[in-house]
Amino acid sequence: MIRLSFGDRVMTVTIYIILTLLAFMTFYPFWNALVISFNAGIDTAMGGVTFWPRAWTLENYGIVFKDERLVGAFFVSIARTVVGTVASILFTAILAYGISKKELMGRKFYMILCIITMYFSGGLIPSFLLIRELHLMNTFWVFIIPSLISVWNMIIFRTFFQGLPAGLEESAKIDGSGNWGIFFRIVVPLSGPVIATLSLFTAVFHWNDWFGPSIYITNEKLLPIQTMLKQILNSNIVSDQMSQLDSAAQGQMAKMRTVTSKSLSMATMMVATIPIIMVYPFVQKYFVKGVLVGSLKE
């Protein structure tokens, strides 16, 4: 055992202090938002609410869950995440399985076609006009169809499928299974971990997407929670500056005197965060592997 020198010890202590500060600075904003969401809004406005709620209340959440627009947006987000993830993983895996077949004619060309899209895109405006030309604006399908195929996921799937033992497929072929049968009965059941990893990433993408809906959706009933939250936060800024609330919020204020736009938006934010926090342990378990697979493919 080599004894640590004085300099080494100073460095170790400094590192521990910096990392503790970093962890605190990362965690505190989430914690503070959670605290404010459980604190009476009027009380928060007096300032000084930091680590613990001072005037504990569930009123903020009560109003959020009574607001039909927000509950609707929450369900739009859930529907979009579930349908979008299942469809995207299925279609992407099928494409990847086809491309993993060595006998596929035009394999190289198909692959190049896919890879080019990772580096080049038409950009915002042509994509926007295309979506409009296809009459996907203000439909649920605008969440699903344009992101159905993920080339990145396809490459990870393909690498995984190529690593599967060839003998399994051979024996299924002798038993008379076609490629589709092999895919669904043999390949998919063997791909549990990789499907789980990529599903989690895809689900996080779908849950978090707010920009797409903000340009493609004008019908309020179809807005997902993130886009709705963005509108709430922006109106919050305005009200911060002009002490002006929209009429709906004012109506609620009259009934419930203790909430403010800030406490309400923090509660909404927590509702929009909870699904991510819930899947986070699983994401964390898998994602290191996922990131590594991706970076090794450089």
């Binding site: 910096i18 404010i36 609410v49 279609f91 004619m105 915002l124 195929i149 800030k262 938006s265 964390q284």
Partner: protein
């Protein structure tokens, strides 16, 4: 001899020479691939082709096919517009700031995490620091606004407690603070996640190198610079090339969400947000596409240059 390079598959089944017959025989696999490729062509390649409208006076009524070709008119308009200087300045400054601070930050974090021997503590720091990466920009912007707000914002509370300020400051309405806020927010969100690849690279270093170095009396600090950093240099370089290619992506979602206050327009407008503003909000489609294309061309140039330099330096760097 060239014949030998023919696909094994062909050698095994020399009977099916006709491409058409072969294709029909593997129709089931082709049907796995073709619908997906059709989607890719529609949603990726048609917009790429649509970029050509940067050279048109695109009108929704005439459509892409019938719109008039106007050459470089929109590019000239952009270069001569009063916005040009401002937008380019903001883009370059913000992306350089993000590159200079945001790129090394995860490397430093990985180096620090690597020195932590207490596994519980290490896992805790990792778990917490990865979290913001998985939050949408809306949530992150909401948290930052809440932290910086004058209404119970924790930053203002802290500064007041420490007697640095008398009155709460509305940070997000001060143009001189905006770049710092933007860059710090970006680092805050991505530092943890960005460190994963570097931690993985560090983990693959041969531990006997450290043993030999400490035998020779090298301090931990010296080991970082003489062993760890040079060992992860290849990975750093790859990510640096990618970062240079992204240099003009000064930010989009973060700026849209954090620069809500119109007084920030002069310091917050970058190419991407400008494209959004003139294209989506003012419906000047051709002009906005031209601006976006201008950016894409520079980005490709930067990426090619970075790649070239890295290749040339390749042998001498490791």
């Amino acid at each position: 001899m060239a014949q030998l390079s023919i696909d094994e598959e062909l050698i095994r089944k020399p009977k099916t020479k006709n491409a058409f017959v072969r294709f029909a025989k593997q129709l089931d696999i082709q049907m796995m691939v073709l619908p997906a490729l059709l989607l890719i062509i529609v949603f990726s390649y048609i917009p790429m082709y649509g970029v050509l409208m940067a050279f048109q006076d695109y009108s929704i009524f005439k459509g892409f096919m019938a719109s008039e070709w106007v050459g470089l008119k929109h590019f000239e308009m952009f270069f001569n517009s009063p916005e040009f200087f401002k937008v380019m300045r903001n883009t370059v400054i913000i992306s350089l700031l993000k590159f200079c601070i945001g790129f090394p930050a995860p490397i430093v974090l990985a180096l620090m995490l690597n020195e932590v021997k207490n596994m519980m503590f290490k896992r805790l720091v990792q778990t917490v620091s990865y979290l913001p990466h998985f939050m949408s920009w809306v949530i992150v912007a909401g948290l930052i606004m809440s932290m910086l707000s004058t209404d119970n914002g924790s930053v203002n509370i802290l500064l007041e407690k420490m007697n640095f300020i008398e009155e709460p400051i509305n940070f997000l309405s001060l143009p001189e603070m905006f770049w710092s806020i933007l860059v710090s927010t970006g680092v805050w969100k991505e530092i943890g996640f960005g460190s994963i690849v570097y931690l993985a690279a560090i983990a693959s270093i041969d531990p006997s190198m450290y043993e030999a170095a400490s035998m020779d009396g090298a301090s931990k600090f010296k080991q970082i610079f003489l062993i760890t950093l040079p060992s992860i240099m290849p990975v750093v370089l790859i990510f640096m090339i990618l970062a240079i290619g992204n240099l003009l992506n000064a930010g989009f979602e973060d700026i849209l969400l954090l620069a809500v206050n119109p007084v920030l327009r002069d310091v917050s407008d970058v190419i991407d947000t400008y494209v959004y503003r003139v294209g989506i909000q003012s419906s000047r489609y051709s002009y906005a596409t031209a601006v976006g294309l201008f950016k894409a061309v520079i980005s490709v140039g930067l990426l090619t240059m970075a790649n070239y330099l890295a290749r040339r330096a390749g042998s001498s760097l490791w």
